[in-house]
């Protein structure tokens, strides 16, 4: 973990509720795909954890959905503003176990961290297939960006207004893959858990206090003991997950 001050280089809307913020500065503290950052915002007590969408050179890209006060405030920020950010939080994805043709499944605001993962897998010579799930056409984002990386991309929408009709699991039928990686809302993660028969990794979300392991606010129970989502997570392996709720 590192505390850094990053300046906003770009902050634009991708859909009616999803924004992309590009931050510039010392982002060397980001050490893996699937990690997150924790942002201090004026007037709010707790920092806001946001997954890393991409990190290269001295630029960090965050794609976030406006869901509350914090993200709403972020969406109004403009180029040149400086943010106090804790970077390099969480474990991230382990790509060494992916095999040659891994499957990447992102749902809604779970899509962003899959971008840097996909980029890394491709740089390692692997051929990932990417399924991006959304509710409807006007919520779709990053399809082209994934295609530009060289991945095969399938988009699903629940209301059939774009791409394949249905849930991400509907697009999985018949696909052949060596391993899977997923991030998205919990009902989707559970469905993916049931629909897959290879090993895989899941990225989880939880309300956090600190984001770096000090308060134990975000803990969960796993097969291998108690884990802090912010420290030993947010990525957990399929075989260690206990679905409680």
């Amino acid at each position: 973990m590192k505390q850094v001050f990053l300046s906003i280089k770009e902050n634009i809307a991708l859909t009616y509720s999803v924004y992309r913020m590009v931050l510039s500065g010392d982002v060397s503290g980001v050490t893996n795909c699937g990690q997150f950052v924790n942002i201090k915002l004026d007037g709010l007590f707790l920092r806001r954890p946001i997954s890393v969408c991409d990190c290269e050179g001295n630029e960090l890209t965050l794609v976030y959905k406006v869901v509350g006060k914090g993200t709403e405030q972020m969406s109004r920020m403009t180029k040149g503003e400086v943010l106090d950010v804790l970077v390099g939080l969480g474990n991230g994805y382990d790509t060494s176990v992916s095999g040659q043709n891994p499957l990447i499944i992102g749902g809604g605001v779970g899509v962003p961290p899959m971008y840097m993962l996909c980029k890394k897998l491709i740089s390692e010579g692997k051929a990932p297939t990417v399924i991006l799930g959304f509710n409807k056409a006007d919520e779709v984002f990053y399809e082209k960006e994934f295609e530009k990386l060289g991945a095969r991309v399938i988009v699903t929408t629940v209301d059939a207004s774009y791409g394949v009709r249905g849930f991400v699991t509907d697009a999985m039928a018949g696909l052949d893959y060596s391993y899977f990686y997923t991030c998205g809302p919990e009902p989707m993660l559970k469905a993916v858990y049931r629909a897959t028969n290879t090993g895989g990794q899941f990225s989880f979300e939880e309300r956090m206090g600190c984001g770096f392991g000090a308060c134990m606010g975000c803990s969960c129970k796993t097969v291998t003991g108690y884990k802090r989502i912010c420290k030993e997570g947010p990525v957990l392996c399929k075989e260690e997950i206990l679905w409680e709720k």
Binding site: M1, K40, F212, A214, M216, C218
Partner: protein
């Protein structure tokens, strides 16, 4: 002794700044960021007889100038704290540490305190009789003078190290409870623990916290904490450690003027991991600004 050093129950601290239990883990997360030996000491994650997961999640909620937590004393249990956490801590912290203990019966407090009392690294036992998160347990002891003194007497009978009793603010008369602890043999008092609070999510119309209620902490509670520290420090003769919403060097000085010999910093560590380092570095400048030559000169300065 330096101009910032203070004595807490006979043990000298280089400065009065102490990260509070539950906001500093077992220390090594922060040791990655800075040399934690600059701290006066720190109070490590509340320890119980058996391992605990704590409450269901979500157990954190945002508030105006503060937060609510209902972690519920997650910890690996005293045996693993002694066999794993303390040896790990030894590698990054060479000073005496404050051992924070909770329990759900007098016997559990006695068991855990007796074991930690034998650890060479432990300087003080901070006995938490105030955690508001655990049903039927910690809360009951800290809310009556009788319950508090029963725990203190039992713990004092099996320990040799200074016993500091951490009090809950969620009581009618905190002074009566502090006095009962002093009479029962406590070597010090620390206060305040978190204040019982609640938030409701308007979209779901359900409490944000799975446990419904939790402990409110952060800047917002500072005036309440300061008032209680002042009241207790003027009512007992044993040393008082002040805490509650402390976020800067000025707050430390206010707490000391109110009567605290040392000051714990809690929630601020979670949002600013360098908070304690910053406060320690700011103290000399703030002392100079207000004409304070030695921190010991101001303890309890406000009558």
């Amino acid at each position: 002794m330096g101009k910032m050093s203070v004595k807490l129950c006979g043990i000298e601290l280089d400065n009065p700044v102490i990260p509070a239990s539950g906001t500093f883990g077992f220390g090594y997360e922060f040791a990655e960021l800075y040399d934690i030996n600059i701290l006066g000491t720190f109070s490590f994650k509340g320890t119980t007889k058996d391992a605990r997961f704590g409450n269901p999640t979500p157990r954190i909620a945002e508030c105006e100038s503060g937060m609510i937590n209902a972690v519920g004393l997650q910890n690996p249990g005293v045996d693993r704290v002694i066999s794993e956490e303390l040896p790990k801590l030894k590698k990054c912290f060479s000073k005496k540490v404050m051992s924070n203990v909770s329990g759900f019966s007098v016997e559990e407090y006695v068991h855990t305190c007796a074991l930690l009392d034998k650890c060479e690294q432990v300087g003080w036992l901070e006995v938490n009789i105030s955690c508001p998160n655990v049903h039927g347990g910690g809360m009951a002891f800290g809310t009556t003078p009788e319950g508090a003194s029963e725990v203190v007497r039992a713990v004092k009978a099996v320990t040799t190290k200074p016993v500091i009793v951490k009090l809950s603010p969620n009581v009618t008369d905190i002074v009566a409870i502090a006095k009962a602890c002093e009479d029962a043999g406590a070597d010090g008092i620390s206060l305040i623990n978190t204040m019982l609070g609640m938030r409701i999510d308007l979209r779901t119309r359900r409490p944000v916290i799975a446990n419904k209620m939790g402990g409110f902490s952060g800047k917002a509670i500072f005036p309440v904490a300061l008032r209680m520290v002042y009241q207790v420090a003027h009512a007992v003769k044993i040393p008082v450690v002040g805490m509650g919403g402390v976020s800067c060097a000025e707050d430390v000085i206010e707490m000391m003027l109110a009567g605290a010999v040392a000051v714990e910093v809690g929630a601020q560590n979670l949002i600013d991991p360098y908070a304690c380092k910053r406060i320690i570095e700011e103290l000399p400048r703030v002392m100079e600004k207000y004409g304070i030559e030695n921190l010991n000169d101001i303890i309890g300065g406000v009558k």
